[in-house]
Symmetry: C2
């Protein structure tokens, strides 16, 4: 995945160099790559070739990276540490980070158009649309806006879930769906089950994130710990308490595994990812 | 065009409302709509139907609007007035403006996937790619990075041209090309001539912008006049002088009209746009 991303990004020596260096800095050398892992696991399940899956995996990771660069800016979360390194605007400057995020978003869409990802170009157009809907104002960017608006407000649990289903859930579902669309092997109802799996795993990821944010150190996380509580942001831990949050994560994990059950051995990698999402310590 | 853009944008009542209001604010009720005009004129020349052209015209205008919202942010040009109104981050806030720009970019790509724009889906994928390349780090966003880097530096004329060919030229060329690709009526060498026309008009637009910035009032322009000189940015006026800049604009105008000559009456609208670009006073 690192090689795929490195090849997809403009080389650092190509003008404008500072912009391209910042784009590479924001994407390479860090991150859990959960979305690419999901795309690969869902793609393999659907009988897709790795070369095609790699492209959609890179596209969703570029969208994710762009969102992190913009989220970390001073006018948003104002964070200085990401993936154990200074954030993009700290390493470069705010204007360069803004443009790097912009350029990463554009590059994600460009990637989806550069080579065949489906034998049917109409399906490939659907894939571009799917990524756009998932990352736009009614998907990821919309979730970010809801998040901003929630600071200092007493959110209910359904409101918190609504925010996360947009902010992180939409792109996680898109990762699974795009990976699967690279193949042709899905049977009746299988995409729906994969999407239910993705929804559960996306939420579980967020619940675990909130638990880790509350209970871990900055050194372990590679990003600023305790940030949400300091910012007076509602989290699963502040709303439910740590113990109930852990139980909720376990419930989502079980629900995700149930959705995979009919796939048998074809879903083994997706099960491993589900385990990692819930049991991870960073 | 206003109706098309309004229908393409999420309604202001749809959540997240503040984000969608900001997106609509940034796009509607202002702007010269040069890029949509070019898309329509080139599309008509190529025999395209107005419904298809309207979609690509909206997409390029959304990309343009997103770039203005981000360019106006405090970490970039820090401007408070745009199209005679407070800039998006002044009317809303910086975080909302950042996300509104992000969402407008995504929406542009989404628009290009929602309905048939060519009878061949493979051509439509090419259109998505073309918009991505024109607006990304080796197109518009890259030009913006070069612009940032040029503040306070003594640019040569070729360096200034290189910056503008990216910052505004790439999207203007894409507007013409995307409009024409909606049709099927282009003969041998006709796209090349259209692109040469677009290149001349894009540069002429910028030269005239620099002249207007130096010689007009803020009230006439609807944006802050004298901004470039104050920011110590190189312009055609500061490098060539006003008189030579006017001669250069006239030369580009003539060159653009020569490129259209073989089209005869089919290019009448493109000629009118060329005249407007050079003779405008705002």
């Amino acid at each position: 995945m690192e090689d795929v991303l490195s090849a997809a990004l403009p080389q650092a020596a190509i003008a404008p160099r500072r912009l391209h260096q910042a784009m590479r800095y924001a994407v390479l050398g860090g991150g859990k790559r959960i979305r690419p892992l999901l795309a690969f696991a869902a793609g393999e399940l659907a009988g897709a070739g790795p070369d095609r899956i790699a492209v959609v995996a890179a596209a969703v990771e570029l969208i994710h990276a762009y969102s992190l660069v913009h989220d970390d800016l001073p006018c948003m979360d104002d964070d200085v540490l990401r993936r154990g390194k200074p954030t993009c605007h700290v390493e470069y400057d705010e204007a360069t980070a803004l443009l790097a995020g912009d350029g990463l978003q554009t590059l994600a869409f460009q990637l989806l158009t550069e080579r065949p990802l489906s034998d049917d170009p109409a399906v490939q157009l659907e894939m571009v649309k799917l990524l756009a809907v998932a990352s736009g104002s009614r998907g990821m960017a919309g979730g970010q806006a809801i998040d901003l608006d929630s600071v200092g407000k007493p959110l209910s649990l359904p409101e918190l879930e609504f925010m996360h289903i947009h902010k992180t859930g939409a792109l996680i579902r898109a990762s699974v769906q795009l990976g699967a669309l690279c193949g042709q092997g899905l049977g009746e109802g299988e995409m729906e089950r994969l999407l239910h799996f993705a929804k559960c795993i996306g939420l579980a990821f967020q619940v675990v994130d909130d638990i880790l944010d509350a209970e871990s150190t900055t050194a372990t996380l590679g990003k600023t710990a305790g940030k949400d509580a300091d910012a007076n942001k509602p989290t699963y831990v502040t709303i439910m308490g740590a113990s109930a949050a852990r139980a909720f994560a376990a419930e989502l994990h079980a629900d995700a595994l149930t959705a995979l059950q009919p796939f048998g051995a074809r879903a083994e990698r997706l099960r491993q990812i589900a385990d990692f999402v819930v049991k991870r310590e960073f």
